[in-house]
Amino acid sequence: MKKLHPASVAARSLSRSVNVGLLFFIGGIIASPGGAGPNLLSVGGMVLVGILVAVVYEIAYYERFRYELTADTFDVASGVVARRDREVPLRRIQNVDIRQTILSRALGVAAVHIETAGGGQTEVSLQYVGEDEARNLRRQLRRGAKADEEDDATADDATDRDTVEEEGDEEELLFEIQPRELAILSVFTIDPGASLLGGIALSFVSGFDPTTLVPVGLVEGIPGTGSGIVAIAWAIVLFLLAAWVVSAVLTFNRYYGFRLTRVDDELYYERGLVQRYSGTIPLEKVQTLTITERVPFRWFGYGALAVETAGYAPGQSSSRGSESAIPLARFDRVVTLARDIEPFGDVDLEAPPKRARERYGVRYLLVVAVVVGAGYLLASATFVERWYLLAGLLALVPVAAHLKWSNRGYRVGDRYVLARTGFWNRSTKVVPYYRVQAVLHTQSIFQRRRRLASVTADTASSASFLGRAATAYDVDAERGLELQQHIEDQLQERLRARKRERTVGEWFQRPVADDKDDSAGSESA
C-alpha cells in the first residue's frame, strides 16, 4: 500500500486552513460584536485555532490514507474518524483526471480523480500525489483497464505490461488550440461567474464607494432627472465591461495551451495557464458527441465539440468544462475530429414538417401578447406611456419561428442517430445506437393538435442531466413512432453485432494482444 506525497499535508492544510480559518474568522466576528481592540485579538485567536485544527486533521488524514493498484482493482483505504475501504474494478473506470492548482504546482504535486459510472460523486480522489506518480497512475490505470478487458491477461502478462509502461506512449496530436482561436474564444465567451467577480473587482477599484466611478463632469452637464438615469446607465456599462474583462481572462486561463492527443483508444487533454488540468476520455466509453455552434462563433464558422461519458455525476459543475474535447475550432476541423471518434457520416438532416413552424409562430405570438399585456399593466400603474409600441415585436415573430424551425432536424443513420436544435446555441448530438438507454416519444397537448411528437434517445451520459438530451423535436407523430421503433431495433442489432465481435475477438485474443505489445515495444525502442 502506498501513501500520498508528503507535501500533500502542506497543500491540503493550506487550502483547508483558508476555509476553516475563514469560518472561524466569521465565527470570531459574530461572537465579538462592538469595540475594536480585544476583538481583533479574539478574532485572530479564533483564526489561529482554526488553522491549527486544519493542520492536525490533515496530518491525520495523510497518515491514514493508503492506496494500491492491484492487477484488476484500485484499492483505497481512507478516513480519519470513519474508515472506508474502497475497491474500484479497473474496467469500470470511466475517466481519470489530473488537476493542479497554482499551489500544488509550486509544491510539485497533483490531484488525481477517478470516475466510474455509479455513485453521486467522484469515486476516488487522491489529494495529492507527486507529479510523476500521477502520470504513472494514469498510464497504469489505463493499461490495467484495457488488460482486464482482454480477459486472460494474467500474472505472466503483467510483467510484460510493466516493461511497456516504462516506455513512452505513442501520442497522436489531434488538436491544439491556435492563438487566434483562443483569442476569439476569450473575447466572446460569457462566463456566468464573471459577473459576480466583475462586480467585486469593480467595488475594489472604486474603493467600496460606487459614486466615485461616475464621472462628475458628465453628469453635471445634464439637467433634471436625466442625470440619475445617466449615472445608472454608466454604472451598468462599467459593470458589464468589468464582467466581460474578467470573463475573458478566466476563459483565457482555462483554455490556454489546450491540447488533445490520442493514445491507442483514449483521448487525453491538457489545458490551463495558472491551474493545469488534464484527463483521459476512453473512446470505448463515449456515450454521446455534441457539436455546439454558439451564435457569435457560428457566424465566424467556428464550433466546439464535447465528448460525453457516464463518469461525472450531476451537479459537478467544475467537470463540465473538462469534458469538452475541443473548446473552439473551425467547423470542418470539429466535424473531422468528431468523425474520427465516431464515424457518423453525413450531417444532412431531415427537417421537421412545416406545421411545426406554424406551432412556433403561435407560441411566439402568445409570448408577444403576454409582453404587451404586461406593458399595458405597467403603463396603467406607472408613468410609462405608449405601451402599444411593444406590439412592434410582432414583426419578429415570423423570423423567430422560421429560425427555430430551420435549426432543428434529425437523422437516423446507419449506426448513429443525430439530432439538432437551438438557434442561439445550436447543438448537434451524435448518439451511437448501442448507447441508447431508453427511447421516449412525447406529445404535449399542443403537439397532439398538430400531430407532432418529440423523440428522445436517452443515454447514460452524465452531461444530459444539465444539458439537453438527444431529442428530435416536432417530427410527424407517425414518423416519430417509426423512429422510436427503428432506434429500438438498431439498438438490439448493434448489441448483437458487438457481441459477435467480442466472441470473435476472444478467439483471436492471445495472438492479437501479443502482437500489439510487440509492435508497441519495437516502435518506441
Binding site: 441508447v436 416519444h441 397532439r448 428522445t456 451520459s461 413512432l481 429500438e488 438490439q492 458487438r498
Partner: protein, 162 residues
C-alpha cells in the same frame, strides 16, 4: 396492451384530494392572513373568495387529471423491451430495452397496501428515464411482472448496461 387495475383510480383520487387540500390550505390560508393583518395596506374585498375559488378550481382539475390518468395508462411486456404509455397532458410513450435494466423493485405505500395494490419500479442507467414505475398492479401481478422482467433482463445480458 395491459391496463392497470381499476382500483388504482381510488388511490390516485385520494392522493389528489390530499394534495389539493394541502395546496388549497396554503392559498386560502395565505389570503386570510393577508386580509386579517395589515401587511397589505388595503386588500381588495374579493381576495378571500377569489382564493377559495382558485383552490376549488385547482382541486377539480387535479381530480379530473387523476381520473383520466387511468384511461391513458397502459404497458406491454414486448419482445425486446418494456413499453409504457402514460400522461394526460403530455403523452409519453417509453420503450425500455431489457438489456438496459439495472434492477427491478416492487414497492407498496401504505395507501397502496390498503387498496391491495403494488408498484413495480424498473431502473436503468439513463439520465432522463432512470426509473420507470408501473403503479396499480395486484401484488400477484407485480410479483410475476418483476420475475418476468428479471428473467428477461438476465437473458438479454449486455456489456455493462452503460
Amino acid at each position: 396492451m395491459e391496463r392497470l387495475n381499476p382500483r388504482v383510480r381510488v388511490v390516485w383520487l385520494i392522493m389528489a384530494v390530499f394534495r389539493a387540500s394541502l395546496a388549497g390550505g396554503f392559498i386560502v390560508g395565505g389570503a386570510l392572513l393577508l386580509s386579517i393583518t395589515d401587511f397589505w395596506g388595503n386588500p381588495p374585498d374579493l381576495l378571500v373568495p377569489g382564493a377559495v375559488a382558485l383552490a376549488v378550481i385547482l382541486a377539480i382539475v387535479r381530480l379530473i387529471v387523476a381520473w383520466l390518468r387511468y384511461s391513458v395508462w397502459r404497458f406491454e411486456v414486448q419482445d425486446d423491451g418494456l413499453f409504457i404509455e402514460r400522461g394526460v397532458f403530455t403523452r409519453i410513450k417509453t420503450v425500455v430495452p431489457y438489456v438496459r435494466v439495472q434492477h427491478v423493485d416492487s414497492r407498496r405505500s401504505p395507501l397502496e397496501r390498503t387498496a391491495g395494490l403494488s408498484t413495480v419500479v424498473v431502473y436503468t442507467a439513463g439520465s432522463r428515464s432512470a426509473d420507470v414505475a408501473i403503479p396499480g398492479l395486484t401484488p400477484e401481478r407485480a410479483e410475476t411482472l418483476r420475475e418476468e422482467l428479471r428473467r428477461l433482463a438476465i437473458e438479454s445480458e449486455g456489456e455493462d448496461a452503460v
